[in-house]
Point group: C2
Chain length 168, copies 2
């Protein structure tokens, strides 16, 4: 892969709020292109909420044409109802990537924290501070889901960089 | 809704095996049009597996043009890894229905057992026997996932019938 430019779309899955962050990775430098969150309202049938999220991600993919889609793995949840909803949303994100023919990678929260903050036990605030610093942003991205999605994208960029070093 | 014909696609979600069953419901009679299971192999990246399942369901929806898609709710799982995989597959099924513009309903295992076997504590074998009997089949549908999917479709048919009676 060398020093070629890579556009990476990071996704933090959720049904009510699906965080996204698009970064450009070139010559070991990263910059933010766009970040935010897709939201859906409670009370709307779940298949329609998933359709809206899938459509929103499809539009982002069309707009930025990312080389890679990076999606956070689901790791821990207090209750089963939450894990079902988040997993269904994650399924919609995986499908949006696959149906666009994009490469798709998953990263665990541990991998993301290690890559972005330097250690796997970093707390949410430390990761957000590092996202702000690494992307030269004036503020910590809001909502939290957007900052998390940028962290996934950064983790993916560093992983591609490592793979690239091995390739050489 | 009265006595109008309804085609119902029932789905029992899963990543390795996604059961499906298509029935026609008319004049309080039900008949099986097609049943089976979509399968994906372990070792294939999960976004590609979901894409294959989504594509397979899309082809079934195009072929039978169901009025309603009925999907089993996720209720109980021994381990978290399983619930994540099944929920992602359920997300793909919900999306296949939503992106085809189909009405979509969910039914819990309890509702399905009550509707098909007459009581919520019925075991798997009792439900399968009733699926065979109600659809006038010579054998219990195989694999189990197909029989489960037909049970979801039958449960949905009876629910629509009840709604229809209330409408009148």
């Amino acid at each position: 892969m060398g020093n070629s430019e890579k556009i990476i779309l990071g996704i933090d899955p959720g049904t009510a709020t699906m965080g996204y962050g698009v970064i450009r990775f070139k010559n070991q430098e990263i910059e933010s292109l766009e970040y935010g969150a897709l939201t859906t309202e409670a009370g709307i049938p779940e298949h329609i909420r998933l359709k809206d999220l899938y459509g929103g991600l499809g539009r982002l993919i069309k707009k930025h044409s990312p080389d890679v889609v990076a999606i956070e793995d689901i790791f821990y949840f207090k209750n089963k109802k939450t894990v079902i909803k988040v997993s269904q949303a994650r399924g919609a994100a995986l499908l949006a990537a696959a149906n666009s023919g994009k490469e798709c990678y998953s990263f665990t929260p541990l991998q993301i924290k290690q890559a972005v903050a330097g250690w796997g036990q970093a707390d949410k605030k430390q990761v957000q501070d590092m996202v702000k610093k690494l992307l030269n942003l004036k503020e910590i991205p809001k909502p939290d889901d957007a900052a998390d999605a940028l962290a996934v994208a950064i983790c993916c960029a560093y992983s591609l960089s490592t793979l690239s070093a091995i390739d050489m």
